[in-house]
């Protein structure tokens, strides 16, 4: 008989990679069927409960660590002890002396005095102060960390502006500087395009779609998702746009993000209008529309890339857009033999990809529920329980506190794919696989395994549609990843927008 135990380690903080490595180690112990190590956040307690662990008596706060194990009763205690031991010296992170790396900002600057930028990736509560120090040292900042208070973001960005420095972030997962990708970035070619984006999968998608059209990017400046809010005022978006307009190597400027606050949008568009460079503006789902050369206003990611590529190649952007939307129309023919009844369940690792898919689906088949919905009334009461058409963003904080981001580990998302496949009301399961540096080495493999298992149970009742956001030069290889999914019976599309449309046409 399987027993379970949850041990609470009070006030213990470990990064999510360590927790994953220790959990894997426990899972390899004989007699252990399931093991997980997570911070005791409300969301993680819910996830544990959904996995069948009894959590009602757990006395723990979000600064405490939960070590949960299920298996043969005789080994549970040993497994907990093993976990505590491993946490002191995690597998794969041995404290053997290696290459010397400075540990402090001053130490790093003494060894690299010509550096002009710092990448900060530490717990959010410390990240803001470190960014302050970097600005004082005259460095541009890429703030990869999230959970930095908005007040801190505002003060950092104002300080940076005074000094003529950029603060990219907080929560800036991707940037490209002189063709070099930072964070989650794809191995795309360098070229004449300069991007400013919130810096998530929206940036990655446009980067990849430009590469598919043979156009490279020199710089991609991430701003963090809150930059375009009224309170922050689009400081980095404005500074980034100005910098790209002044850069002689940049021929086309591209802006990407969710729609900014109206005053911020107005400010940004005014900067671009005065810039004398063609610009494609992709505020996804934004209200502004219509081309006013040199500005081209787009509503979707692939559309933005297609327009920008046309501008870079000296072609007519309107024709490029028209052709793209015609190709979307042809998806209806592709969907005809794939018709299914039921709802779409979208399982996303990329936040902007999830947002764009909701936008497209809402236009084609009606409102979509989500944990990160387009409109507040469509918010799921419980992110773990779908209703109607649902698209879940697994990159939201509720799923990533003390847990790896789904772009680094799709295990949790794959489990959801299995459970959604058992729902008789589901007709299509739609998902993304985001590739690039920093991402899981084989995300398609993780999802394909789940699809294969699900197909054994559900048969052909459900259609699986996916998008692989990446290029062949990425460490995972886009063609290879695509093939893995196709062999598992997944229909793989060429863009996120295409995948969302195909899913809608299948059930519509």
């Amino acid at each position: 008989m399987l027993l379970q135990r949850i041990h609470v380690e009070k006030g213990a903080y470990y990064d999510s990679v360590t927790l994953m490595l220790v959990a894997r180690e426990l899972q390899s112990m004989e007699g252990i069927e399931e093991a997980s190590l997570n911070m005791a956040t409300e969301a993680n307690l819910k996830i544990l409960a959904a996995a069948g662990f009894g959590v009602s008596d757990i006395q723990a706060g979000q600064s405490d660590l939960l070590i949960a194990v299920r298996g043969d009763g005789s080994v549970l205690e040993a497994a907990i002890e093993r976990a505590r031991e491993l946490l002191k010296n995690p597998p794969g992170r041995k404290s053997t002396p290696g290459e010397y790396r400075p540990k402090s900002l001053d130490g790093a600057l003494s060894m690299l005095p010509e550096a002009n930028m710092a990448l900060i990736s530490i717990a959010g509560r410390y990240a803001g102060d470190e960014a302050d120090k970097c600005l004082d040292a005259g460095l541009h900042v890429m703030l990869y960390s999230d959970n930095v208070p908005i007040e801190k973001e505002i003060s950092l960005k104002n300080k940076a502006k005074e000094k003529g420095l950029l603060v990219m972030g907080p929560d800036c997962g991707t940037a490209v500087i002189r063709g070099v990708g930072l964070g989650f970035a794809n191995a795309c070619p360098t070229g004449p395009v300069g991007l400013v984006a919130a810096a998530g999968t929206g940036l990655q998608e446009v980067h990849v779609q430009l590469a598919r059209r043979g156009v490279g990017v020199l710089h991609a400046i991430g701003t963090g998702g809150r930059d375009v809010k009224e309170e922050v005022g689009g400081i980095t978006f404005s500074m980034g746009s100005e910098a790209l307009l002044c850069d002689e190597e940049i021929r086309v400027v591209v802006l990407i993000g969710k729609p900014p606050a109206p005053s911020v949008e107005e400010r940004i568009l005014r900067i671009l209008e005065g810039g004398k460079k063609p610009a494609a503006v992709g505020f996804i789902g934004g209200k502004a529309s219509g081309d006013k050369p040199p500005l081209y206003l787009c509503r979707e990611l692939e559309e933005t890339a297609a327009v920008a590529a046309a501008l870079a190649n000296g072609k007519d952007p309107s024709s490029a857009r028209e052709e793209l939307f015609k190709s979307y129309e042809r998806l209806k023919e592709k969907a005809a033999p794939m018709k299914r009844k039921g709802f779409i369940r979208g399982l996303y690792s990329g936040g902007t990809l999830c947002y764009e898919a909701q936008l497209i689906a809402t236009g084609l088949i009606g409102s979509v529920y989500s944990n990160a919905p387009l409109a507040s009334e469509m918010k799921l009461a419980d992110s773990l329980k779908s209703r109607g058409h649902t698209m879940v963003d697994y990159g939201e904080d509720e799923f990533t506190q003390g847990r790896l981001h789904p772009m680094m580990d799709s295990t949790f998302r794959a489990e959801r794919l299995l459970s959604e496949s058992q729902d008789p009301d589901v007709g299509v399961i739609l998902f993304d696989c985001v590739l690039g540096y920093g991402c899981h080495p084989n995300p398609a493999g993780q999802m394909a395994e789940a699809v294969e298992k699900a197909r054994k149970k559900a048969g052909g009742r459900i259609a699986y549609v996916a998008y692989v956001c990446g290029v062949d030069a990425d460490p995972q290889g886009a063609t290879e990843q695509r093939k893995i999914l196709e062999e598992a019976g997944v229909t793989v599309c060429d863009s996120n927008a295409e995948a969302a449309r195909l899913a809608c046409y299948i059930v519509g």
Binding site: P97, E99, Y100, P102, K103, D106, G107, L109, S110, M111
Partner: protein
């Protein structure tokens, strides 16, 4: 010159440590970076067993490096870097030495902590080397009594007190006196590779010595 009569005390993978009648350590090493004062660099270790008495003709051996600490002080440019080395004392397993240092004088760490050469001794040796590098005299009161630590460790401290250091440390001293980043990076990496904790303890001691 009469041959040296030495007794084999320890045999490791790439080092044999021998003791003279006067109680000094001599070594045969197979890696250049493991050379210390009174070391012989050899292609392979001789087939000597622990406890065996051997004879070495010192005048027949080539001089590979000068173990004397250079007289050039470290560049102030690296000061932020050596401040970081003090952090080693806050992390296990060296925290035991850090805690002792916080409550007592420097000599109280002799023989303390983990390692073949106790970490406290490595720290003291680093302190002595740094003091010498600054051109100062090492205060005699920090030199430990013989019975406070191991024979090998005591011998290293004797050398450090006299201004003689291991080749890795000599390279580090040279790098700290210069401005070359890659040279410093290389020598720091080499120092960290000393023993399990020795490198880190030594660097922490050097930082204390530089700031004394």
């Amino acid at each position: 010159m009469a041959p040296l009569r030495l007794v084999v005390v320890e045999r490791h993978k790439s080092v044999i440590n021998l003791r003279s009648r006067a109680g000094r350590r001599y070594s045969v090493v197979t890696k250049g970076e493991d050379m210390g004062p009174r070391s012989i660099l050899s292609k392979r270790l001789p087939d000597w067993n622990v406890g065996e008495e051997v004879m070495v003709f010192a005048e027949a051996l080539p001089v590979c490096y000068d173990p004397e600490i250079p007289k050039t002080p470290p560049s102030k440019r690296w000061r932020p870097l050596w401040f970081e080395w003090l952090d080693f004392l806050a992390e296990p397993p060296l925290d035991v030495v850090g805690k002792e240092l916080a409550k007592g004088d420097l000599s109280s760490v002799a023989g303390l902590g983990p390692g073949l050469t106790p970490a406290g001794d490595d720290l003291l040796a680093g302190y002595m080397a740094a003091t010498k590098l600054r051109g100062e005299t090492v205060p005699a009161q920090i030199f430990p009594k013989m019975d406070t630590t191991t024979w090998l460790s005591f011998d290293i401290l004797r050398d450090a007190f006299a201004g003689l250091v291991w080749r890795r440390i000599k390279d580090l001293c040279d790098a700290l006196a210069g401005e070359g980043v890659s040279l410093l990076e290389e020598s720091l990496t080499s120092c960290l590779a000393m023993g399990h904790t020795s490198g880190r303890a030594y660097l922490a001691g050097m930082a204390l010595g530089f700031e004394a």
